[in-house]
């Protein structure tokens, strides 16, 4: 691990922070603002790299005290077992409290219907928003980054949601200096994005610098996959492969972690953090473009889901 606050090269000031130190400091500031201003915040935690970095920042922000927030996972029912195992181990290690909102429960109760394409990502919105209401969470941390998608480029760090959890991009509060405005009426909540200004590469560099452990599916491994819509999907009980799709064993890794039905693996032999970083720095595809089917549904897929309350 490198030292925490090295002066960056290429500047005339010994006080210039490196870009990772600047992003880390800003993220910590955001966590502490929420802790200071809200009654009942929660961190969305999927076991994916962005939420893992969020949790790491929260642990640093309040050390040596415990993180003053609980975690919330929206379980699609089609999660990777390695990721669920990582989730539970992390929760236990840090003595945290985990809430789970289960898509499968909603399907079993007949409240939600399985989609024809088998994708469960859009089905997460209702369990998420109902959990926020029932637990009365007033601030919900998400690992969303503005570099992921162009609707997200417009998202505020503190993003007000109405009592139906809806996002209205035309009625966002201007965000000035680092003076975040967390005011909200009862029933409303604020989505908070401490990684807003991070890019995928920043996240990976920070993981490497801090020595943060990740679920193994982020690194190259042999896996039984089949091709659908130009992506390698993991075969499994969730509904693949279908007729005409054939399973093969390939050396792959994941760039994002989500529902198995719409998160694709990429061909890769990157088994270490350094190899992953080298691969991403050279990649000509964004992580969502490479591995997320749900964002390809329409030009405004992400915006439309965000409006409804998705993260």
């Amino acid at each position: 691990m490198t030292t925490v606050a090295t002066a960056a090269e290429g500047t005339d000031s010994p006080y210039a922070l490196s870009h990772l130190d600047a992003l880390e400091s800003e993220g910590v500031h955001i966590f502490r603002e929420v802790a200071g201003e809200f009654e009942n915040p929660v961190i969305l935690f999927s076991g994916g790299k962005d939420s893992i970095v969020m949790l790491h920042l929260a642990l640093k922000a309040f050390a040596p005290a415990a993180v003053p927030f609980s975690l919330l996972h929206v379980d699609t029912g089609h999660n990777f077992p390695e990721v669920l195992e990582y989730r539970d181990r992390t929760v236990e290690k840090h003595g945290l409290r985990l809430h789970v909102a289960s898509v499968q429960d909603y399907i079993d109760r007949g409240v939600l219907k399985e989609r024809a394409d088998g994708t469960r990502n859009p089905l997460q919105t209702l369990p998420l928003t109902e959990k926020i209401q029932s637990e009365r969470f007033d601030a919900v941390f998400g690992g969303g980054r503005r570099d992921e998608e162009k609707a997200r480029a417009k998202e505020r760090v503190f993003s007000l949601r109405d009592e139906f959890s809806q996002w209205d991009p035309r009625r966002q509060r201007p965000e000035l200096w680092n003076l975040y405005n967390g005011r909200h009426a009862p029933g409303e909540h604020v989505r908070v994005f401490p990684l807003s200004n991070w890019t995928e590469l920043d996240v990976w560099q920070y993981i490497a610098r801090e020595g943060i452990e990740l679920p193994q599916i982020y690194f190259a491994h042999e896996r039984e996959v089949f091709a659908r819509n130009g992506m390698w999907l993991t075969a499994g009980e969730w509904g693949g492969p279908k007729d005409g799709e054939s399973v093969e064993k390939r050396l792959v890794r994941y760039r994002t972690v989500g529902d198995m039905s719409c998160t694709g693996a990429v061909d890769s032999d990157a088994r270490t953090l350094d190899a992953v970083i080298t691969e991403i720095a050279a990649s000509r595809l964004t992580e969502r473009g490479a591995t997320r089917a749900d964002d390809k549904l329409s030009e405004a897929a992400m915006e439309d889901r965000k409006r409804e309350g998705y993260f």
Partner: protein, 444 residues
């Protein structure tokens, strides 16, 4: 980007900058060109733009579609709000506040410029310095953005004539200097043809300066902190109350300005109590010295009452506290701000009740003339405001500290962010604005 080692990549610095330009100045093209030529647009993003352009019947890819992210923006072909974009070179990381040039330009540019260390102001070489250019320069000066770039665009349409560029650069620099903009770099470009944006132009041998990207990569990002007033707004009190740390009591916050050292005598405002710094934790690691903008936890020698909203400052350099704040503000909400308005004022980590006592003047950005006692400020108006706060606040002049000299006003009824405020004099210039000859206002 070439494959460099992790260490080399993470040692780069971060530059936040904002763009400003009116509708037809070619701002989207410049942003698109910067992203594209710095190889920050990836294949799938470009394909998406090509697909969308083709479905609209356009022949080539419309690079503006890279930046217009919302459905309504694409449908109407306009940009609604500030968007933040990210790109990197091996030398530096960039956060670009991409501000639209449309009707709501003032509040959007103020929002973008509030966190920027540099502003790129575009002008059309055929039109030269126009009203809009002066507005942009005035906002950059008001927000005290340390560096300004004048990008004289569309040089291809004036035959790459040096004299055209020189005249515009001279006129702009004189105006900006008068406003107190500390540093202006003028660059002749063609965003469409790619001259001097990322690659040096073969069409303008007479220009010996940097390209836009080269300048962005090399402009210094921080100031000499030795001359800054040190300020730490307390965000949160960390008290583990565990067997391992039974007595730990740390005051967490992000250093807003200057440096703090262990052993230094400090004063807590507004209470005025004095103690010494017993220790500084930099996210779990003890350090002897910490500086802006590090997030730290400070331990004090004496067990005194300190809570969120307090400001820790060096005893030898403490600001006065006051309940009467006079500031230049930009009104950002649709409903007007009026005299007698009861509001909340957020300054640092402290939010207090406040009342708008007076609106002495409204500023016309085009010619910097003052409209006395306008009665109210509407969306996008910039004006002088006198505010009485319910509790004393330790405010600095915005000229001395962008972080502890700024505040926002909030509507207590629905939480709307109403107004962005900058304490003290509007411009660094000698006398462009002076609204209070009696001098009963601000005193630092």
């Amino acid at each position: 980007m070439s494959t460099t080692t992790t260490e080399a990549l993470s040692a780069t610095t971060l530059l936040r900058f904002a763009t400003a330009g009116s509708v037809d100045d070619g701002k989207s093209t410049l942003v698109g060109r910067l992203l594209h030529d710095s190889k920050s647009v990836l294949t799938d993003q470009l394909e998406a733009v090509e697909r969308a352009s083709a479905s609209r019947g356009q022949e080539g890819p419309d690079l503006a579609l890279l930046t217009d992210g919302l459905r309504a923006e694409r449908e109407q072909g306009i940009t609604i709000d500030v968007a933040y974009r990210y790109f990197a070179t091996p030398r530096r990381r960039f956060i670009l506040a991409d501000t639209p040039g449309h009707v709501q330009y003032t509040r959007n540019m103020v929002t973008g410029a509030s966190t920027a260390e540099l502003t790129v102001i575009l002008v059309d070489a055929r039109n030269g310095v126009v009203e809009q250019t002066r507005r942009h320069a005035a906002i950059a000066a008001l927000l005290r953005v340390p560096h300004a770039v004048l990008a004289v665009n569309k040089m291809d349409l004036v035959d790459y004539e040096e004299s055209v560029f020189a005249a515009i650069a001279e006129e702009f620099t004189a105006y900006a200097t008068e406003l107190g903009v500390p540093e202006v770099t003028a660059i002749p470009i063609s965003a469409l043809a790619g001259d001097n944006v990322v690659d040096p132009s073969a069409n303008m041998d007479w220009y010996g300066g940097p390209t836009v990207l080269e300048h962005l990569e090399t402009v210094p990002v921080s100031h000499d902190l030795a001359h800054c007033h040190a300020r730490l707004p307390v965000q949160y009190v960390i008290r583990p109350q565990t067997a391992e740390h039974p007595d730990y009591r740390g005051y967490a916050g992000q250093i807003a300005a200057g440096t703090f050292r262990v052993g230094e005598e400090v004063t807590i405002l507004p209470s005025g109590r004095t103690t010494r710094i017993a220790g500084i934790d930099l996210l779990g690691r003890p350090v002897d010295v910490a500086w802006t903008t590090q997030s730290v936890t400070v331990l004090l020698e004496d067990d005194i009452d300190v809570s969120r909203g307090d400001l820790i400052v060096p005893t030898k350099d403490a600001p006065a506290t006051t309940q009467d704040v006079e500031a230049t503000v930009c009104h950002v909400a649709d409903a007007p701000l009026t005299v007698g308005h009861r509001v909340l004022l957020k300054h640092g980590t402290r939010t207090v009740k406040a009342i708008v006592k007076d609106i002495p003047s409204r500023l016309t950005l085009d010619d910097l003339s003052l409209h006395p006692h306008p009665g109210q400020l509407v969306a996008n108006d910039i004006g002088r405001v006198k505010i009485r706060t319910a509790e004393p606040l330790p405010v600095d002049s915005y000229a001395d500290s962008r972080r502890t000299g700024s505040f926002i006003l909030i509507d207590p009824s629905d939480g709307t962010t109403l107004t962005a405020g900058m304490v003290g004099e509007s411009f660094a210039a000698p006398e462009p604005v002076k609204d209070d000859p009696d001098g009963d206002g601000w005193d630092f």
